[in-house]
């Protein structure tokens, strides 16, 4: 089968699955729809691997450099002969890598959900939404045109909304879905303005033409774009920062991170798929797509992005150390890890020797997908067994859920950066790129990785140790959930071994293979910091004791602020409720109700009054009519006579 055809099938098969399951779902038995969804994604995952092998080893390399391969492209909406919105599929190192990540994690989540969501009333719609999401995300990464990516971006937002609010009878779920959609939509406003600015400057909407026109040396487009500046940044930088704002919304960077912890109201497999491995990395992917423009023509924008990323990483890690809901801990961990990817892109440059940040970021994206999905699915298994999200209801579960325990431990070791697991290699690469480019960010990165190790193992110990191992009534719980177990095991394989892939030879900023540096001396510092974090976590949480409570009491102000997520949500609520609603919302509502409505009602009642006044003319009295006749005739006659005399 040709690679082009496979790419098209990869994109459209989930869409067909969505249409089939949503339109005919009532007539299919739930188990069958689960099987259909899983089979479709299995096939798509297999095809993605096939296409990836073909691309990386067969046709992708031209003269030693990986180039883009456009599978199909057609003009969807043409504005004039230069500007049009095209739809198409392009294969490119990052898009192929993302195809593998998305389809594989989606397949695992589909498989897992067969057991997790069993007995759910809207089982078929769940699988339909998952297929819709897979289609949207796959379309996003293979987009040829920035507007096509924007459309799929919005589609992804809708799928996320539908899935977060899946349990729509819970008010908290509805509120979380609304919050997610509104925050990302608000960020997408920036994205849209950025797109418009970029297309105005470069007179095109196609990614590759855009990159070419805005990075070629001496290009007239760059000159016109960077000619004027505003607040110290050129117009191009502003356009790119606005585009990044859209990405920051989807990837939950400060201060648009508020939706991600609340999005944990959705089912746990959804959190694993969307809010750990795929949708939230859309922002990273966007920056990576436009990376040449960032690196060559607007490096100051890239610096700002690096600082935002570094700050968010630290911020989220601090909050994660205090949370007690296990899904919230993982959500903040996700924010922190994505921030790592963002600042890795931020410290990267263009050209030999300083472009490892790009590869490191993509590598971390790849490995993070595996271990974060694994963490979430494991947490889901725990929640499924214990029927609660809070840490205080768990403890000592290592004998009751052995497979979950082992895979969770492997994922925690991976995320903490312990060699030889996957996270070690990717985090290494990020930290070394940061060390070479920007030392303060490097220190922040190292400290945050220590915090990461600490809170992840706090989580691990609180769930699986800390109380004597009790044979719960859930003993043998895992024997009923074979699909969940298989998904966990397969992802664990990825989490352990994915680090050994020589990523640099496949994905790099210019397409040429690079070698990711690996210095033994250098890697000792982060690993040591990680191990110290694990040790502290063991001391505090290995067995139940009151040391954590004493520590949190002594720094109670800091602890309380971190526990309440530094009151960011309260600030947002204050601004929206007190300021926006009162100053803008209420007057607008008053205006709408009284002036606009009033005008319409007024015209209506005016008409009624007028008609009431003149309807008396039709009184039914013959003589009145005759009098009007005569009056009219006299007037006409007078006019006639006056005209002719």
């Amino acid at each position: 089968m040709s690679y082009d055809l496979s790419s098209e099938i990869i994109l459209f098969l989930p869409l067909l699955s969505f249409l089939l399951l949503s339109l005919f779902g009532k007539r299919i038995k739930p188990e069958i729809s689960g099987i259909i969804g899983t089979m479709v994604l299995a096939f798509v995952a297999f095809l993605s691997l096939y296409v990836a092998f073909g691309y990386f080893f067969d046709f992708g390399k031209v003269d030693g450099v990986y180039v883009k391969h456009i599978v199909t492209q057609f003009s969807w909406l043409r504005f004039n002969e230069n500007l049009s919105i095209d739809m198409g599929i392009v294969l490119d190192p990052i898009s192929v890598m993302m195809l593998i990540v998305i389809s594989f994690v989606s397949f695992m989540v589909h498989l897992y959900s067969n057991n997790y969501m069993k007995g759910e009333e809207r089982f078929t719609m769940y699988y339909a939404y998952l297929s819709l999401f897979s289609f949207s995300m796959l379309g996003l990464v293979v987009a040829v045109n920035i507007f096509q990516m924007y459309m799929f971006w919005e589609l992804v937002g809708i799928s996320s909304f539908l899935l977060i609010g899946f349990y729509f009878t819970k008010p908290s779920a509805i509120a979380a879905a609304k919050k997610a959609f509104i925050v990302t939509r608000f960020a997408d406003l920036g994205f849209l303005i950025g797109i418009l600015m970029l297309s105005y400057g470069a007179k095109t909407l196609d990614f590759f033409v855009l990159i070419e026109r805005l990075t070629a040396t001496g290009s007239p487009y760059i000159a016109s774009f960077t000619a004027s500046s505003f607040l110290g940044l050129s117009t191009l930088s502003w356009a790119l920062l606005l585009v990044f704002a859209g990405g920051a919304g989807k990837s939950a960077m400060f201060p648009l991170h508020i939706w991600l912890p609340d999005a944990m109201e959705g089912p746990t497999p959804v959190s694993a798929l969307i809010h750990a491995a795929t949708m939230v990395v859309a922002g990273v992917f966007l920056v990576a797509r436009l990376f040449p423009i960032f690196a060559i023509s607007a490096p100051d924008a890239l610096h700002i992005i690096a600082y935002i990323g570094a700050f968010t990483a630290l911020f989220a890690a601090v909050i994660a150390t205090t949370q007690t809901d296990i899904k919230r801990v993982l959500a903040y961990s996700t924010i922190s890890q994505i921030a790592y990817m963002i600042f890795a892109l931020g410290v990267a440059g263009w050209g030999e020797g300083n472009n490892e940040g790009y590869t490191a970021s993509m590598f971390h994206l790849f490995t993070h997908a595996f271990f974060k999905a694994l963490l979430f699915l494991g947490a889901g298994a725990v929640i499924h067994a214990v029927h609660s999200n809070e840490m205080k209801d768990m403890g000592g579960l290592r004998k009751a859920l052995p497979i979950t325990h082992i895979t969770f431990l492997l994922a925690c070791l991976a995320i903490a950066g312990v060699p030889p697991f996957a996270g070690f290699f990717s985090k290494e690469a990020i930290l070394s790129a940061a060390y070479n480019a920007n030392l303060p960010i490097f220190y922040v990165g190292v400290f945050t990785s220590g915090l990461t190790a600490f809170y992840m193992f706090r989580l691990y110990f609180r769930i699986f140790w800390s109380k004597p191992a009790v044979k719960h009534e859930g003993h043998g719980h895992e024997s009923h959930t074979w699909a969940m177990n298989i998904a966990l095991l397969v992802l664990a394989v990825g989490a352990v071994f994915a680090g050994f892939i020589p990523f640099g030879s496949f994905v790099s900023a210019e397409g040429k293979a690079i070698e990711l540096p690996f210095h033994l001396m250098f890697s000792i510092t982060p690993v040591l910091v990680g191990l110290i974090g694990i040790l502290i976590a063991y001391v505090l949480y290995g067995k139940k004791n009151d040391l954590p409570a004493r520590i949190s009491n002594s720094v109670s102000f800091v602890y309380q602020s971190a526990y309440h997520k530094f009151y960011i949500d309260e600030i947002y609520l204050f601004v929206t409720k007190k300021i926006l609603f009162n100053l803008i919302g209420r007057p607008s509502a008053w205006f709408d109700k009284n002036v606009v409505n009033g005008m319409i009602n007024g015209s209506a009642s005016g008409t009624v009054m007028f008609s009431g006044a003149i309807k008396k003319m039709q009184s039914g009295r013959l003589q009145t009519y005759a009098m009007f006749f005569l009056g009219g005739v006299l007037i006409l006659a007078a006019l006639l006579v006056i005209k002719f005399i």
Partner: protein
């Protein structure tokens, strides 16, 4: 009759015409309204005959018009009386203000 200027005859017919119109507007009984209409028609007849005699003595057009107007007036009066009788049977009144059901 040649000494009476045409305008005097026309004034007679005008006065009669507007008397008829005034009666049409003012009278309450349907039959008196009918009588006012007859006055109007007669004034028009005088007009036609006068014009024929004074301005166009070589033709008889005015006479013919008068002829036809009288004929048609007769037909119309008979129909109007029939309607009035019908109305009287239905509403038991021939007050013109009681026949105002075709209104808003």
């Amino acid at each position: 009759m040649e000494q009476v200027p045409l305008s005097h005859v026309l004034i007679l017919s005008s006065i009669l015409f507007f008397l008829g119109i005034y009666g049409f507007f003012t009278r309450r009984n349907l039959i008196t309204v009918l009588m006012s209409i007859e006055l109007i028609l007669n004034s028009v007849n005088i007009n036609f005959v006068a014009f024929n005699k004074y301005l166009y003595p070589h033709q008889l057009e005015g006479v013919f018009f008068t002829l036809f107007i009288i004929t048609i007036a007769a037909a119309e009066v008979s129909l109007a009386i029939a309607i009035i009788i019908n109305l009287y049977r239905r509403f038991n009144t021939i007050d013109i203000d009681d026949t105002d059901t075709m209104k808003y």
